[in-house]
């Protein structure tokens, strides 16, 4: 069963050793094509001019921000239900990536908003819920950092991730409600004319490139985390053997 084959970190390291170069190559090619297409071939928008090109970075980043949380949710289920030994490694290394993509989408969104809406920030429903998502990513990262034992931290973060996954639709719904109650949607009208193929194709290529980038970085971060845990357990073993009195210190198996 392939799913359980990854449970062995050594086997996972060997597999990623082989997969990663291909993934990096595919990612570089997709970015080369996507960036060229979106910055040189895609036409200017008749209203927005060149600023429409921000969209080619902004929209994929926003998609990835969501996808990253789904990956973390699946990993958390893996941690709590199947006690898969790599699931919490996956969840931990996905959180900073998700935060980074969310940050990119917030920054590019406000850079786009300044010329278009005349302001960097609007308390629009969509912006607000992305901001909440960003805070949740940072909170999860803080929770990971404050607990010393990676196994315990992984379980605590998994509980919080799952509660967050249940809550995110509620937050989205309530923020929509809050915004329509206070101000009718007048500024944010993205659904003008349907998007033209000349722009849609670069956008999809960029989305593919971003997804490949995410998986590349995610696998690399997981490898780093596994190595970090091995170093940790080796240090504990060394400390335990140096002072036999302290041998009761729990060495947790990263191997």
């Amino acid at each position: 069963m392939a799913f359980w084959d990854f449970a062995n970190p050594t086997r996972f390291m060997r597999l990623t050793d082989r997969v990663l170069p291909w993934l990096i190559g595919a990612c570089a090619i997709a970015f080369a094509i996507g960036l060229y297409k979106s910055f040189f071939m895609a036409p200017e928008d008749y209203q927005q001019g060149d600023t429409v090109r921000i969209m080619f970075i902004h929209v994929p980043a926003a998609w990835l921000a969501m996808m990253c949380y789904s990956v973390m949710t699946l990993s958390s289920i893996g941690t709590l239900v199947w006690k898969h030994p790599l699931a919490d490694v996956s969840a931990k290394s996905a959180a900073p990536l998700g935060a980074a993509f969310t940050f990119i989408s917030l920054i590019t969104g406000s850079l786009w908003g300044k010329p278009m809406w005349g302001t960097y920030w609007v308390w629009d429903a969509r912006l607000t819920s992305v901001l909440v998502l960003f805070i949740m990513y940072l909170g999860l990262m803080a929770l990971w950092r404050t607990m010393e034992d990676p196994i315990k931290a992984g379980k605590a973060a998994a509980v919080l991730t799952l509660v967050g996954a249940l809550n995110l639709p509620i937050i989205k719904f309530s923020v929509d409600w809050w915004n329509t109650l206070h101000q009718p949607a007048s500024v944010m009208r993205l659904d003008g004319p349907t998007i033209h193929p000349d722009m849609l194709i670069p956008l999809l290529v960029m989305a593919l490139a971003f997804t490949l980038l995410f998986f590349t970085l995610h696998l690399m971060a997981m490898r780093n985390e596994i190595l970090r845990r091995r170093v940790r357990s080796m240090r504990q073993k060394a400390a335990a053997s140096a002072r036999p009195a302290a041998a009761t210190a729990s060495t947790q198996a990263a191997e």
Binding site: V132, L138, G139, F173, S174
Partner: protein
């Protein structure tokens, strides 16, 4: 079955009321927040009447967050939490009972104090009634959601700040519907009942998610 539930409830209530009197301190903190807002936004009574429900809700949210670290921390420090975990009772039910007692000791005083503080903010009688009613329905949700954060950070020495950061994003829907149903009662673009019923629904959802997530986290935090 009912014996241990009521025994636990009474124990929690007695501890909350007698030790440190966190309920009274919470109300004092609430009063401090309400007092400090006019210094920030100016003493304009019309403005205060307009943002009054929001001030009361934010004050109640902050006061609830501040009291949450007492929910499991003291029991963990003296070992009672481990005994409860080993007792073989349903941990979800234990968390629910503890939350209920905690709310009686800290949340209910906030609700009772809200009408008095509302007078400072120049709210009219209808608005006072609406805010108090929404706080009565909504503060249990804040306690139950906060229980998740409290149980996640129970092993940490100084978990209070982190707990607030974890809980606030989850509490946003409660805040939105609490304030908007209070607003709807005052000047009605929508009927009062719609957001109010959603607020009730949020409390019920929190009563399910909160104990389950919190009990899971507590089981992992022990051992």
């Amino acid at each position: 079955m009912n014996g241990w539930v009521s025994a636990l409830f009474l124990r929690e209530l007695r501890l909350a009321v007698r030790v440190g009197g966190s309920g009274v301190v919470g109300v004092l903190f609430f009063l401090a927040v309400v007092t400090v807002i006019p210094f920030g936004v100016g003493p304009d009574l019309n403005l205060l009447a307009r943002i009054g429900p929001a001030i009361l809700w934010i004050g109640a949210l902050l006061a609830t967050l501040l009291g949450l670290d007492r929910l499991f921390q003291a029991d963990r420090d003296d070992g009672a939490l481990d005994l409860i975990l080993m007792s073989g009772r349903s941990m979800e039910l234990v968390v629910l009972v503890k939350c209920l007692a905690h709310w009686m000791a800290t949340g209910l005083p906030l609700v009772l104090a809200a009408p008095v503080f509302a007078i400072f903010l120049n709210l009219d009688p209808v608005a006072i009634g609406a805010v108090t009613l929404t706080l009565l329905v909504g503060t249990p949700a804040l306690t139950l959601i906060g229980a998740i954060g409290a149980s996640l950070t129970v092993t940490l020495r100084r978990g209070g700040l982190l707990m607030a950061v974890l809980v606030i994003p989850l509490a946003i829907p409660v805040l939105i519907f609490g304030v908007s149903s209070a607003d709807a009662a005052i000047h009605d673009p929508v009927p009062f009942l719609t957001p109010f019923l959603i607020l009730c629904a949020l409390s019920l959802i929190a009563a399910v998610i909160g104990p389950f997530a919190s009990a899971t986290a507590l089981r992992f935090a022990s051992d």
